[in-house]
Symmetry: C2
């Protein structure tokens, strides 16, 4: 197959991990006789520096034409004092919205080798394997009005949804649950929010179409507790944008392997933006220390979700597991008896396995 | 001193733990020569049963005249299918709003005897001692509009604040920090929400008045992570109503002692509503199994925050610690080598210590 991939390296360690992702994609193309073409564009801080906007028009244009997008990371202290519309994360929020990337998939899985770095007791976290499906282009992030009022004496933000926006994310979550352990937890605050009551109705309606999936509703405060006390309880969680932001970050630290977590953000046509969950880590940028595995696992998600290449995706995941099994890792990870290597060396070892 | 206390036992185990709270208050009055008078009113499910509303007018009237209010718990499966305005938690939301109880104080402290029940590793959680100051009468909980639109095809909720509402909760948090370890973490989502940007401005403005307090801003997603990875990092956290709901419940399970956690909700005149953090636990209601210690520690908060009785409050806290040290506990808690007793027996032992 031929696929065209837009790379958005961004800031900090973004370019390093993007290079690793590209190398892995190239090795998959070689091994499985695909043709992947690449083009790079600016986003975030580097785009502010080069084009005076965190999201240049031609970045959006290129992304629209791509079969998939890979993003490294955005942000850093250099741009922290700029006004709101000139902040690197506006680039990220902008591309999500402009490409309609409404479904953010964030899997959290325990790697047995890394569990000792978890803040949780081994028996609490060991069996964890969950997926958070976060609505990404609506809710409290984008609702209007969001403004000062009454001469600056008051302020409002708005949590807004169209019913069909809730429907499509709920459908996505049911479909994700079907290819996993078939258990869906819909998280809301239906005892307080009208939007949550609509959310619950939509879930109740849609569940008729997915009789093989067990569904339950859980309040967001209860979910925040249960993620800590019993993370292995969950299979798929679906929730509103801001709830999803909080819960997915809470979930990301449970297994002790934040540097390992991938993510996918999909639109209605299956085009997706893939990025590691970790940030731009400006403190170690340029030192070839960054852990490329979250990016490489994001590539596996790309192969599966945007290209339908199941076998290729499994190959990439198996290669990562193999390299971990051999004890290789970057300095962010503490692996008993392992060997610390540079980020590029670790990526090369994954490529060799493919 | 003479103080008049309104008791709102509510549902499930609410009446049992309220009785324990009342007995402890009475023993404090005896020991320290105060006069505490009591009157009880309905709220929540029991109010729905008796008065067809979760918050009867005379409950509000009585609460308005009280020096302090104690609430047991509200809710239960019996009322779960009722329409929104007839749900037990509407009683709780209503009394918060009508009495202007804007400052919710939720301390989380590790009890060494109970740490083994924590989901976190001992070294991660052992030193934890934090206070969440949650805004309780504004934000996403109460903003208008909150409604269906466009023939049910859309929905909105609103996160609204007046600047002075942010100011008073931020002041409360600075004052709480001053009598603790003098470190304040203001939690927001300033990279997305306009209300969070105003929140940050207010904190920056107010900090001039409290030069002895160290202040930092943290994004809510980062705070959700750090509560799990390093809870002892925090002293006082101040945040918006919904963020506070999520983070304080997340925090409540860290130390393995949910049955031990008290809370206070204060208004501008210092009148407060005190309640245990745990719920109504309908499954064990009426069996004299409920742990009264969260309620008794809520009484300690009442003595301190509403009555200015520091010494009395410390006496109550010391009595709880003493009973734990002697190994007595209810069945919800698993204390190695301890003795399981009924809720009323445990409360009696605390009273004996006072
Ligand atoms: C950078 C920020 C705007 C973003 C978000 O809140 O969505 C990030 O936290 C994330 O989760 O991708
Ligand atoms: C019962 C519910 C409305 C309430 C809230 O969300 O405030 C509860 O979760 C709490 O934290 O006191």
């Amino acid at each position: 197959m031929e696929k065209h991939i837009v790379l958005l390296p961004g800031d900090g360690i973004g370019p390093e991990v993007t290079k690793a992702a590209k190398n892995v994609l190239q090795s998959v193309a070689d091994r499985f006789q695909h043709t992947f073409t690449f083009e790079s564009h600016d986003i975030g801080g580097v785009a502010i520096d080069n084009h005076e906007t965190p999201l240049p028009e031609d970045t959006v244009e290129a992304a629209r034409k791509a079969d998939a997008i890979f993003l490294g990371a955005v942000g850093g202290p250099k741009w922290d004092q700029l006004p709101g519309h000139m902040r690197p994360e506006k680039g990220l929020l902008g591309i999500r919205k402009q490409l309609g990337l409404f479904a953010n998939l964030r899997p959290v899985k325990a790697f047995q080798q890394l569990l000792h770095a978890s803040p949780l007791k081994h028996e609490v976290v060991a069996a964890s394997d969950l997926l958070i499906v976060r609505e990404l282009t609506g809710g409290l992030y984008f609702g209007e009005p969001r403004e000062r009022r009454n001469n600056g004496k008051a302020v409002v933000d708005t949590l807004a949804y169209e019913r069909r926006e809730i429907e499509r994310i709920v459908e996505q979550a049911f479909q994700s649950a079907q290819v996993r352990r078939k258990q869906l937890t819909s998280v809301d605050k239906a005892n307080v929010l009208e939007s949550s009551r609509m959310w619950r109705e939509v879930v109740e309606e849609k569940k008729e179409k997915y009789p093989d999936v067990r569904v339950e509703h859980m309040l967001v405060d209860a979910a925040a507790m249960k993620l800590v006390t019993n993370p292995s309880y969950f299979d798929v969680i679906v929730t509103e944008n801001m709830f999803g932001d909080i819960l997915s970050d809470e979930a990301s630290v449970l297994t002790g392997s934040l540097g390992m977590l991938p993510s996918a953000s999909l639109n209605e046509t299956g085009v997706g933006l893939y990025e590691p969950v970790h940030g731009s880590a400006p403190d170690i940028a340029g030192e070839d220390k960054a852990n490329p595995l979250a990016s490489i696992l994001s590539v596996a998600m790309m192969l599966k979700h945007s290209f339908g290449m199941e076998e290729e995706a499994e190959q990439v995941e198996a290669a990562v597991q193999e390299v971990l099994d051999e004890g290789y890792h970057t300095a962010d990870i503490d692996l008993v008896g392992g060997t610390v290597v540079s980020g590029s060396e670790l990526a090369r070892r994954v490529v060799d396995q493919i």
